[in-house]
Amino acid sequence: MKLLTIVVKPSRSDGVKRALSTIGTGGATIISAQGFGTQKGHSETYRGASYEVDTKPKTLFKVACKDDDVENIIRAVREVANTGEIGDGKIFVTELNEVVRIRTGETGEDAIKENNYE
């Protein structure tokens, strides 16, 4: 399994959520973040003094998935989050040794399979 860390512009966050639901990853965990990269900050004025805003707001998704799904997810995320403008974000792929579903104790791929309870 893999653990994806997806960083996108906040305005694309709803799209990513929908894309992930459609693919059926079973879920995601979402965090507000700030980022910088090729995209630099910009300068603002406050009470006549100027200052640098050196980061931009981003949304970070943690998604656990089967190895096979990685490609699909990357494609789907790129589709909705790629505006062609600098600062669109990155996808980081890391190895996931194990997952546990707290409620049931299921492990491995079972733990992230969408289940039909309720």
């Binding site: 603002e44 004025t45 406050y46 009470r47 006549g48 003094a49 100027s50 200052y51």
Partner: protein
């Protein structure tokens, strides 16, 4: 004067005083909105505390110092006395004064608190609570009443013809001069100016409550200026009070427009914090003579006040490196001077006398405040440790976060 006239005047003074008391909420909201969230509980506490201290000190000695009647031994330092025991039994139909002595006291006491409120904003985020309150005791019990006596108590400034209807000088410049002394002695907030001379911007944490503060001040100012006519029992007085209301409002409006316009032209953005300072500037500017100008002239006096406050804020902050988080020194001090000097525009006061008034009030408040603060610094220390300042004074002084659930 009939008893009914006396009663109307008294009622009018009391309502005016209640409006001025409301300015305490204005300063509290303004300052709470313009500091960083880690110092919000602290500045709220300072404002509640300073108002309360002002009320007690003025009752203990301030009022009597400022209005000593015949017992003054000279025109510079009035004699000490007390109004602590003021009761209903002592109040009679005082038709010379034209209103109840108790109403007079109430109307005056809220002015003292206003002067002190100006200071809390300027020293925000870096002055410890205890020395601040000790300084409040000295300012409200002694520094303010003495110069108040010079003008309103019948002292030498009054004698030479200095004009100051509701206190551009006596209240606002006095408070701002004390604030300037405090800010110079304290130094800027830690991290505000880097060694390379660059300025670090420290943004206000809550703009809508800062704007609410300005609007509360605007409302309260109708009591501040409107009440300073001190009588509304006949047509002449009623007309004067009405003109004061009209002009106070017009000048504040002018101040907002002036500050917004200059900000938009110079930076491309209509900086709302400047609009807020502009409103206050307009109010301060008209306070020295709100009765004499026409509505149009009042608007222009305020408009110029709004432009002055813009440049004053930027100049103090980026050139002089005088760190005044809420712009109080500019809005009440620089613009206070403008207000005092602008009275001749509508035929009230003479240029030279006004200058004497402005200079003497400034020097008195600046020097006595500086002296007091240096003594306090030596004894209890004015500033928290750098660690405490970085963490925020809410943690070290108050123990209550202002917004514990909102991440920063």
């Amino acid at each position: 004067m009939s008893e009914l006239e006396y009663a109307l005047n008294t009622f009018y003074l009391l309502i005016s005083g209640a409006f001025v008391m409301w300015m305490a909420a204005g300063f509290t909201m303004l300052e709470a909105g313009l500091v960083r969230s880690k110092n919000v509980s602290e500045i709220v506490t300072k404002n509640l505390g300073l108002y309360s201290i002002a009320c007690v000190m003025y009752l203990v000695c301030g009022f009597f110092l400022m209005y000593p009647g015949d017992s003054v031994y000279n025109a510079y330092f009035p004699m000490l006395g007390s109004t602590w025991g003021i009761t209903l039994d002592g109040l009679t139909f005082n038709s010379d004064l034209g209103y109840s002595d108790a109403a007079d006291f109430f109307f005056q006491v809220v002015f003292v608190a206003t002067a002190m409120s100006i200071i809390s904003g300027s020293v925000a985020e870096r002055m410890k609570l205890i020395p601040f309150f000790l300084f409040a005791i000295v300012l409200t019990g002694f520094i303010y009443p003495v110069q108040g006596y010079w003008k309103w108590g019948g002292g030498w400034l009054d004698a030479i013809g200095y004009t100051d209807f509701a206190g551009s000088g006596v209240v606002h410049l006095c408070g701002a001069a004390a604030a300037l002394a405090a800010v110079i002695i304290l130094g800027p907030r830690s991290g505000k100016y880097s060694s390379d001379g660059s300025v670090r911007v420290m943004r206000g944490s809550n703009i809508p409550i800062a704007a609410l503060g300005a609007l509360i001040l605007w409302l309260g100012w109708f009591g501040f200026n409107g009440g300073s006519q001190l009588a509304v029992n006949d047509a002449a007085n009623a007309n004067a009070v009405a003109q004061v209301f009209l002009n106070t409002n017009a000048s504040a409006a002018g101040g907002v427009i002036g500050a917004l316009l200059i900000a938009k032209v110079l930076t491309g953005k209509a900086d709302v914090t400047m609009a807020i300072n502009g409103a206050i500037a307009g109010l301060v500017a008209i306070t020295a003579a709100p009765d004499t100008p026409s509505g149009g002239l009042a608007t222009i006096i305020g408009f110029i006040g709004g432009i002055i406050v813009y440049f004053s804020v930027v100049f103090l902050d980026t050139v002089l490196k005088i760190d005044d988080p809420v712009g109080a020194i500019s809005a009440h001090g620089t613009v206070g001077i403008w207000g005092i000097m602008a009275t001749p525009l509508s035929g009230a006061g003479a240029f030279g006398t006004q200058a004497v008034g402005a200079i003497s009030i400034f020097l008195w408040a600046f020097i006595t405040s500086a002296g007091t603060l240096l003594v306090l610094n030596a004894i209890v220390g004015l500033r928290p440790s750098e660690e405490e300042e970085t963490t925020g004074l809410d943690a070290s002084e108050i123990g209550v976060e202002a917004y514990p659930e909102f991440k920063d």
